[in-house]
Symmetry: C2
């Protein structure tokens, strides 16, 4: 299931930098996996990596050609096909986080078979899953949870992994969404599994491990989101986190895309997440609060974070503005260290 790395990042012909957020995420968090980038004539976005053809990238050791930009409707445009087929004939695997499946395009399936490479549709692929068992697993786990969608759960997970590694903790990001999977090279998109298997998918993503190992699990959605709470609860139960990091956006007025639905209070959200986590791990506790404060001046942001720290007795920080060192140090203090 693991996507072979390193990658050649394909940027297509996008003009909106936001559309390249998958490629940007891979480059930001795993620069060592990026041999180069490839874009079409009209592309206005660059990661300042070497521009390589698939053949050049393959010669430099690249193993997989990654479709690293989102596209309206999630379709693979016809004028991208030449780049993709060139990549296959150069011996590269193809990985895509788009809705449309590579494996639904017979021409690509046939060509991939001829050249003995694999097509990875990360939004759709998953191992054979079992339903969750709830049986306690070995190793330590921290899960990012949130008051809403798009409050920085993936970013916080990756930044926390990086800070924990700086403290010599054996930390490993565990991906549960397509961008995260392309960054990590493996994982399961939990919002795409059959609903009976959500908790089972979470158990698969974070298996038994050494006592001093940390899985930093990417959370999804929110227990208070009317559209996605089922995914969040199954992921929470299956992850069996020892520690939760609550993610939040300061001042967000209502649940994303649902103007009729006010955003839950941080305190209430922490309470329900801890309560629900204890169904499968009675020792679950809060390790910190990761807040996007970007809409506020620094002094207001700091005052808000100080109030949260005071109230919940854990570090509260902005993962971009102030970094996650404080939460990593909190976890380090509570970590099981190798004998």
């Amino acid at each position: 299931m693991k996507i072979p790395q390193p990658y050649l990042l394909f940027l297509g012909d996008v003009s909106d930098p936001l559309a390249a957020k998958t490629a940007r995420g891979i480059h930001a968090w795993r620069p060592e996996t990026c041999v180069g980038e490839m874009s079409l004539a009209d592309c206005e976005v660059s990661l300042d990596l070497p521009q390589l053809t698939p053949e050049e990238a393959a010669q430099q050791g690249a193993k997989t050609f990654v479709l690293g930009t989102a596209n309206a409707g999630g379709y693979i445009p016809k004028h991208w096909m030449k780049a993709i087929t060139d990549a296959i004939t150069s011996g590269l695997n193809i990985a895509s986080g788009l809705h449309q499946k590579l494996t639904d395009i017979p021409e690509l399936v046939a060509l991939a078979e001829e050249h003995q490479v694999s097509l990875f549709d990360v939004r759709h692929q998953q191992p054979e899953l079992s339903v969750g068992s709830g049986v306690k697993r070995t190793g330590q786990r921290v899960l990012t949870v949130g008051t809403d969608c798009s409050v920085g759960k993936m970013y916080t997970s990756l930044a926390l992994e990086a800070e924990m590694k700086k403290l010599n903790l054996d930390a490993q990001f565990r991906a549960t969404g397509q961008t995260g999977i392309l960054i990590a090279g493996e994982g399961i998109p939990v919002d795409a599994v059959i609903s009976d298997f959500i908790a089972g998918a979470a158990e698969w993503v974070s298996p038994d491990n050494k006592a001093d190992h940390w899985d930093v699990i990417e959370g999804q959605g929110s227990l208070f989101h009317p559209s996605y709470a089922g995914v969040s609860l199954g992921l929470l139960h299956g992850s069996q986190p020892d520690w939760l990091v609550m993610c939040h956006e300061m001042g967000r007025p209502h649940t994303r895309h649902l103007a009729h639905h006010p955003l839950v209070e941080v305190e209430e959200c922490i309470s329900l997440n801890l309560y629900s986590a204890r169904v499968t791990n009675p020792n679950a506790q809060l390790a910190g609060i990761s807040v996007n404060t970007s809409n506020y001046p620094e002094a207001e942001a700091l005052a808000y974070l100080a109030a949260l720290t005071e109230k919940f007795n854990v570090p509260a920080t902005d993962s971009v503005r102030f970094g996650l060192q404080s939460i990593a140090e909190f976890l380090s203090k509570h970590s099981i260290t190798k004998e």
Copy 2:
């Protein structure tokens, strides 16, 4: 999407009465939809309906041949194929709740097309779904919830619908599992949808309705079940119930199939269900408790139910032993009546 009724119930060649529980459920709750039964030579189970061939059943108005028994592994045995193909050539649609899809058997697909009939794989079929919106819908809703799987949520829903109809309430059972779907002729198996769409499926199952209409929605799983809680939460949010009926088995020692996981207390389970329901319907309340007391003598059962009634100030009853009239009357008192 509606499965055409009435049915010819196919019992196959089962010897275990429990294996025929789908056929038995359809006959018990919708006798008017059952033209007859058909079984193979070695079948030891009967519903005491007229034994009919597909051709005879079609002549008597049957529209669909229902595979009404479960089978080890959920596969369609080879020796059932003649009965199924006979049904198709007699002009009957085929409906199945088995894991193996009718539509994965090319011979059946071709024959169905030739005879212009439909194949309904109720465990797999679903309309094009959207994610849940959380927007309040019109009409009244009651949802069965539970402390565990297999505590009588479908039975309670159907029995409550029947009791509410006796009180002249406009009540309608809404199915969320395969047996329920075969009984109702429509619905969505929520545990089989892609996890992003659980709440959206629940919204679809119980659409806007007249102010005095009642949907009685079949619940699934439990918020405290480590395997299935995500399904339960999405269904709870999407259903937007005005009223909950908590289902429970008296004396069950632990969560079904999970001996390491003690069963949640009724009080705790009611609290979390009401709390979570209020995310999408702030007026959600408890309407009653439906308990399977079959492992206890009547006096003990009555004392237990009386204590629950006293504690929660709603009717507590055993749906089989004592009936659900008390809960239906409670709902009737609180019902919006037609102008």
